[in-house]
């Protein structure tokens, strides 16, 4: 008889011969050098984890024809919400906001939010395995009624909202239906406020926690025989209010919802929609995506920035 309580002992005995060894001094030296380089950068964001960005904004560049989205405010201050881009080769976040002569001198807020939906299929050795949302083989899989299909939602590591800029002295993040989470202080609340030096990214991150009803919706009926109907998924709105050194404020609202293909979409107040972004270098983001009948992205607009 095997008891659940013995799982630990059994797993330990199988794994106790695995030992990890590396040159930690070399690792520390490398990291120290990297941190020194980063401190010299005026505006820099570096992330170690995975994340995708949902929100992008159009930057006004002096010689650019792109439209600018600015915060709703009653003074001269404004901020942009910028998607953090991914390097297409390393798949690591890559947003270069410093040393750019084309970068307007405005505060920038970065946001990274993404959820992944994975289907796990059992019952056929040919099809057994995991499939991400949008995989072409899912059509064949859901047409079968003899397979066992489990679905799994997962946040993409740190679903983080970062902020960059020198003139912003305080930022408030408010979720309408969900919650906000401050990783540094481990505080969860409807509104999270960052002030002073805590505003800046890299170790000071605020995450969006989906509404409980969304989590419940995600978890409900884990075994499924049909694709998830994302149109019924709960929604949320995040309000970001930045306070500047002169006391004035600027506010942006972002609506979060799943589109019919399961992509988490962020929509700004003027109706522009942004979803998972791909890169061409780190300078372009997708918006106004058009899908085909299989849920594949077939057309989109680039809100490009001029090259550095």
């Amino acid at each position: 008889m095997i008891f659940v309580s013995k799982l630990k002992n059994m797993l330990e005995s199988e794994l106790d011969h695995y030992e990890f060894n590396t040159d930690i001094e070399a690792m520390k030296r490398s990291e120290t050098r990297r941190q020194r380089r980063r401190k010299k950068v005026l505006l820099s964001v570096s992330s170690f984890v995975f994340i995708i960005i949902v929100v992008s904004a159009v930057l006004i560049i002096p010689n650019s024809k792109n439209k600018e989205e600015t915060a709703i405010n009653n003074n001269s201050h404004s901020f942009f919400i910028v998607a953090s881009a991914l390097d297409t080769e390393t798949n690591k976040p890559l947003v270069k906001l410093t040393n750019s002569k084309f970068l307007p001198q405005k505060d920038i807020i970065l946001m990274q939010i993404r959820f992944a939906c994975t289907y796990y299929v059992h019952g056929d050795s040919e099809l057994e395995g995991s499939y991400e949302m949008g995989d072409k083989r899912l059509n064949e899989i859901f047409a079968r009624d003899d397979l066992t299909i489990n679905k799994s939602f997962s946040g993409m590591g740190n679903d983080a909202i970062w902020i960059e800029g020198e003139n912003i002295k305080k930022v408030e993040y408010t979720a309408q239906n969900g919650m906000m989470y401050n990783w540094a202080d481990k505080i969860q609340d409807k509104t999270i406020t960052l002030e002073g030096e805590t505003i800046y990214s890299d170790d000071k991150e605020v995450s969006w926690l989906p509404p409980n009803e969304l989590i419940t919706w995600m978890e409900n009926e884990n075994t499924t025989n049909k694709p998830v109907d994302f149109s019924t998924a709960p929604q949320d709105t995040i309000t970001i209010t930045a306070t500047y050194s002169d006391g004035n404020t600027a506010t942006r609202k972002l609506k979060l919802y799943f589109n019919q293909y399961g992509y988490l979409v962020t929509e700004t107040e003027d109706g522009k929609r942004y979803n998972d972004c791909e890169l061409n270098g780190y300078k372009k983001w997708k918006s106004n995506v058009t899908y085909n009948e299989n849920g594949e992205e077939v057309a989109w607009d680039y809100n490009g920035r001029a090259k550095d």
């Binding site: 008889m1 095997i2 008891f3 659940v4 309580s5 799982l7 630990k8 059994m10 797993l11 330990e12 005995s13 199988e14 794994l15 106790d16 695995y18 030992e19 990890f20 060894n21 590396t22 930690i24 690792m27 520390k28 990291e31 941190q35 170690f48 984890v49 995975f50 798949n91 992944a116 994975t118 796990y120 057994e128 395995g129 995991s130 991400e132 489990n150 799994s152 939602f153 997962s154 946040g155 993409m156 590591g157 740190n158 679903d159 989470y181 990783w183 540094a184 202080d185 481990k186 170790d203 000071k204 995450s207 926690l209 409980n212 989590i215 978890e219 884990n222």
Partner: protein, 160 residues
């Protein structure tokens, strides 16, 4: 461990290197990926030392970093479920261990994750909720569901 003691990175590395490595192996089911992931974990620990304020245990803090790195690794590499981990063969007294380990590794990720954290690493549900960035009821559901799946896969030899 207090926040001040956290600055002794070398000690932390020695204490947790195998703990993290073996957790990554179970999570990623590939010891090569686990090596890369373990390296990433300790680089993050080294980098984020100052952000640790001691509000959770060091073990919880490091494990959360580890889980996030594992998730990131799976996402980047798009690793398929792979049951070909190196395990002892042809030893009758290891038969049950093989079955249990394979059953755990065959679980969907969200269930495998809680089995690793709850049974293997003996975290509380509250700690697991913090590590996996979810709610306690969800953790309870996943553990309950994981037990059901393990029972299906292990058959009559598995019971509580």
């Amino acid at each position: 461990m207090s926040r001040e003691n956290l600055m002794d990175f070398d000690s932390i590395y020695l204490e947790y290197k195998d703990y993290i490595y073996r957790t990554c192996i179970l999570y990623l089911k590939d010891h090569h990926l686990a090596e890369d992931c373990t390296q990433d974990v300790f680089i993050k620990v080294y980098k984020k030392q100052k952000s640790y304020k001691g509000k959770s245990s060091l073990k919880t803090w490091i494990t959360r970093i580890c889980i996030n790195c594992c998730r990131d690794m799976l996402r980047k590499r798009k690793v398929e479920d792979n049951l070909d981990e190196s395990l002892p063969e042809d030893e009758s007294d290891h038969t049950k261990k093989l079955i249990v380990s394979e059953a755990v590794m065959s679980l969907p990720l969200q269930f495998r994750e809680v089995v690793i954290l709850y049974y293997y690493r003996e975290f509380t549900m509250k700690e697991i909720a913090e590590i996996t960035h979810t709610k306690i009821p969800n953790v309870e559901y996943r553990i309950r569901r994981a037990k059901e799946l393990l029972k299906e896969r292990l058959g009559d030899d598995f019971c509580e």
